[in-house]
C-alpha cells in the first residue's frame, strides 16, 4: 500500500500519494452524479406521505395510485403514443435528409445542414411559443398531430447528426456499383446502404423516442385538453406540492430511459466494430 502511494502515477514524476486528493474528489463527484436520481427508486416504495430514505415501511401504494388514476394513465398513453409516432416520423424524415445532404454535392449543403440542426440550438421556450402561435393559425393546437410535428422538429437534428456521421464512414462506391449493375437508386439505397448504416438508424430512432418522451416545455404549451403528456402533468404537479406519486412515475421513467439507452449503446458499439 505504501509502495503504491510512492509509485509514479503518470508520465511526470507525480506519485499516487500526491494525487490522492484527485481520486477522492473524483469518486465523490461520481457518486453525486449518479445517486441523487437513483435514490428516488427506493423512496417511491415508501409507505409514508413524506418521502423518506430509507423508508420505514415498504409499500406499493404510490404505484397503485398511479396505475389506478385515469388522469395519469391517459397522460402516460399520450406520452407513449407521441414518442412512438415521433420516432416513426422523425427517423425516416431525418434519414432521408441526412442521405440527401450526403449524396447530393450541391453548394448549399452547409446552410441546409445548419438550418436542420437549429432546433437543437434555439432556446426551447422560443420553439414552444412559436409552435403555439403557428398551431393556433393552423388549428392543430392540442392535437396529437401538432405534438408529434413539434417533437419531430426537436428529434430531426439528432437523427441527421447520428445518421450523417455513419454515412461519412460509409463507402458510397458500394451503392454506385449496385447502380451501375442496373439497380435503381432507391433499391440500391434500401438493399446496400441501409443495412450498413442500420445501427445508426436504430440509435437515431431511440434518441427520437426519448426526445419526445422527456420533453416538457413544448408539451406545456401545445399539449392540453384531452391530450396532456405525462411530463406536462408531472411538471404541473411539481409546482403545487411534492406528491409521492411522482416518485413512482419517475422510477418508471428511469426504467424506460435506461432500457432505451442501453439498447442504443448496444447498437452503437456494434456499429463501431
Amino acid at each position: 500500500m505504501i509502495g503504491w502511494f510512492k509509485s509514479p502515477a503518470s508520465e511526470t514524476q507525480v506519485t499516487h500519494g500526491q494525487r490522492l486528493w484527485l481520486y477522492v474528489f473524483a469518486v465523490i463527484t461520481m457518486v453525486l452524479l449518479v445517486t441523487p436520481t437513483l435514490i428516488v427508486i427506493p423512496m417511491s416504495f415508501s409507505d409514508s406521505q413524506y418521502l423518506e430514505f430509507p423508508p420505514d415501511k415498504w409499500s406499493t401504494r404510490w404505484y397503485q395510485h398511479y396505475f389506478g388514476s385515469d388522469e395519469w394513465m391517459r397522460a402516460t398513453r399520450t406520452s407513449f403514443k407521441a414518442a412512438i409516432l415521433t420516432m416513426l416520423a422523425a427517423t425516416p424524415i431525418g434519414v432521408l435528409a441526412a442521405y440527401g445532404l450526403h449524396a447530393s454535392r450541391v453548394p448549399f449543403i452547409r446552410p441546409a445542414f445548419i438550418l436542420l440542426i437549429t432546433p437543437m440550438m434555439v432556446p426551447v421556450v422560443l420553439v414552444a411559443i412559436g409552435a403555439f402561435y403557428a398551431y393556433v393559425k393552423l388549428q392543430i393546437l392540442y392535437t396529437m398531430t401538432g405534438l408529434v410535428m413539434a417533437h419531430s422538429l426537436l428529434a430531426i437534428p439528432l437523427v441527421v447528426i447520428v445518421t450523417g456521421s455513419a454515412l461519412k464512414s460509409y463507402d458510397m462506391n458500394q451503392e454506385n456499383a449496385a447502380r451501375s449493375l442496373g439497380a435503381p437508386r432507391w433499391k440500391a439505397f434500401v438493399s446496400i446502404t441501409l443495412p450498413q448504416i442500420r445501427f445508426a438508424v436504430v440509435t437515431s430512432a431511440l434518441l427520437a423516442f426519448l426526445t419526445s418522451f422527456d420533453e416538457v416545455v413544448i408539451a406545456m404549451f401545445i399539449s392540453g385538453g384531452d391530450n396532456p403528456t405525462l411530463t406536462r402533468n408531472m411538471f404541473n404537479a411539481l409546482r403545487d406540492q411534492i406528491d409521492p406519486t411522482i416518485a413512482s412515475i419517475s422510477t418508471i421513467m428511469i426504467v424506460v430511459t435506461t432500457v432505451m439507452m442501453a439498447l442504443a449503446q448496444i447498437f452503437g458499439t456494434q456499429r463501431k466494430k
Partner: protein, 295 residues
Amino acid sequence: MTATDMNAEGLRRDEQLERLRLFGLASPALLLVLVILVIPVGWLFYVSFIGADGTFSMENYERMLKRKSYARIFRTTFEVSLLTTGLCILIGYPLAYFMSQLPTRWANLCLITVLLPFWTSLLVRTYAWLVLLQKRGLVNDWAISLGLWDEPLKLVHNLNGTLIGMVHIMLPFLILPVYGAMRAIDRDYLKAAANLGASPRRAFWTVFFPLSTPGLFAGALMVFVLSLGFFVTPAVLGGGKVIMVSMKIVSNIELFVNWGAASALGVVLLVLTIGVLWIASRFLNFEQMTGGGHG
C-alpha cells in the same frame, strides 16, 4: 459542337438534375423546420415591434430598458448561467482529468456515471433534487444527524437549489468534450516536459492544460448557452425567487397574454444565444456534438 461535346453537356445536365433531386430528399425535414420554427420565430420578431395600439413601436424593447424588474431578470439569467458554468468547470475539469489518466477500460466505466444522468429525464432529475433538498429532505436530515448543521437549511426554492440542480444537469455537457480533448493529448509531450526538468505541476500547467483548452472552451460555452435558455429546473427548484428570461417569457404569455413583451424577450434571448454560439463556432465543430439538451 461535336457529338461528344453534346453528349458531355447532356451528362452534366443530368448529373445536376440528379443532385438536385437528391437534395430534394431533405425537403420534408427542411419544410418542417421552416413551418414550425423559422416562420413562427420570424413572426415573433415582427410582433416584438408592435405596440399595444397595434402600430410599429419600440415600446416592448423600451420597457426592458426602463423597468427595473427586467434588468433584474437579465442579471439573474447571467448570474445563474455564469455560476453554473464556473461550478461545472471547477467540478468537471478535475473529474475529466481523473478519467483521462485511467486506462481506457476503467475510464469507460467511469464515463457511465457521467452518461447515466445525461440519459435520465431532466424532469426526473429536477424532481429528485427537490425531494433531497427540501426542509425535511435527506440532505438536511443527514447533515443534522452528522452534526454538520443544527437547523434545517433552506436548500431549495432559492438560488442554491437552482444552482445545485443546474450544475448536476449541465456537468455532462462540460465533461464529455473536455474528456475527449484530454484523451487526444499525446502523452509523450508530458514525458518530454518531465525529461527537461519540469515539475509535475509545471508540466501540467504549461503543457497539458493549454492542450485541453479547446475542449474546455467548447464545453463551457455549451453549458453557458444551454443555461441562458433554461426553464424547467429554475422554475421548479427556484421557488419563484429565481426568475430567468425564459420563465418571464412563459409568464408573459400564460398570465398576461402579452405577446409583444414575450416576443421582445424571446428576440433578445435568441440574439444572445446566437452571439455566444457564433463565438463558439470558432472553437468547435457542431457536427461532432451529438446529443441534445432541451431544458
